[in-house]
């Protein structure tokens, strides 16, 4: 990991990996959508509305996975002081917010025909809403603190505190009586979903994961360039721009 502490090395790695992850994402999402919409059967009770599951469940997994990535990055910032840890943390937050928003809205659209309501203050739904608010808080913190170093430490502490919400989301359906159904894929005793529905779900989930990896690398590249631009602008304001800074490649 320390080999990629140098942003220039990291950017070179990203340039090599991006076409692979982007291509893989396009293929996985195309296959996943085809299976989800045209091959997987309708549910005997829910009918066609079960197809919302192929978006809702992967986005819910991603909402938590992205937060775990941010938590690891926060540890990287506070404990190991890895130079790219806070870059990774900052780049992941809007993506996590996007997946969480998708999870909440698709869940609401699934809930209305199945439960008869758009929203209920049950433990699972409320804890995911809290996760969305935490994401927004982290994005806001990054925006209001100008010094990236100071912002990184504060956001890392905030992220670690917020991490307590992730197991609450996961186990909320076991700890409390909720309207939301319990886990049906990652559970003791194996999945309870039929294979014809499980495969499209898993392919969509892997597609969402590679989509996140692709966008995360792009967003990290943006953040490195943003810091380079900030450094260069400050040097230019001081009337000195060393050639080493100016000559660094943009990607």
């Amino acid at each position: 990991m320390q080999n990629y502490a140098n942003p220039t090395h990291f950017l070179r790695l990203v340039r090599g990996l991006l076409p692979v992850t982007a291509g893989l994402t396009a293929v996985l999402l195309a296959v996943g959508l085809y299976l989800a919409l045209f091959v997987a059967p309708a549910d005997y009770q829910q009918g066609e509305t079960v197809r919302i599951m192929y978006l809702h469940v992967p986005s819910a997994w991603m909402a938590m996975f992205v937060y775990l990535v941010m938590t690891s990055a926060a540890i990287g910032t506070l404990v190991f002081r890895h130079p790219l840890a806070d870059v990774a943390q900052k780049a992941a937050a809007p993506l996590g917010a996007g997946f969480t928003f998708m999870c909440l809205t698709t869940g609401s659209l699934w809930g209305k025909p199945e439960w008869g309501t758009w929203w209920v203050w049950d433990a699972r739904l409320t804890s995911v809403l809290v996760l969305f608010l935490i994401y927004l808080g982290i994005i806001a913190l990054w925006q209001v603190i100008e010094d990236p170093g100071k912002a990184a430490r504060l956001v890392a502490v905030f992220t670690l505190v917020g991490a307590v919400n992730v197991p609450i989301i996961k186990f909320s359906v076991d700890w409390w009586h909720t309207l939301h159904q319990p886990a049906s894929v990652f559970r003791m005793g194996g999945p309870t979903i039929a294979a014809s529905m499980l495969w499209p779900l898993l392919i969509m989930a892997i597609g969402f994961t590679t989509l996140f990896l692709t966008l995360h690398m792009l967003a990290m590249r943006n953040e490195i360039l943003r810091r380079r631009l900030r450094r260069l602008s400050m040097l230019a304001a001081d009337g000195a721009a060393p050639l080493s800074v100016v000559a660094e490649p943009a990607e």
């Binding site: 509305t49 197809r51 698709t106 792009l218 260069l232």
Partner: protein, 55 residues
């Protein structure tokens, strides 16, 4: 998929929202990159110009 099934509007709305969110994340990330690259080139060329004038 049966487009005449009950509640199909909810399914279409869910996929439409997912499309908008994912497209939004992709477009925002790429637009940010283009803007940063342009600004970086502008600042770098201004710095080079300043150094040439000084020398």
């Amino acid at each position: 998929m049966n487009l005449a099934a009950p509640h199909i509007g909810f399914v279409i709305a869910a996929y439409a929202i997912a499309f908008v969110v994912i497209a939004g994340m992709i477009v925002a990330t790429l637009a940010d990159y283009r803007s940063l690259k342009k600004n970086l080139e502008r600042v770098a060329s201004r710095a080079r110009l300043g150094r040439d004038v000084d020398s």
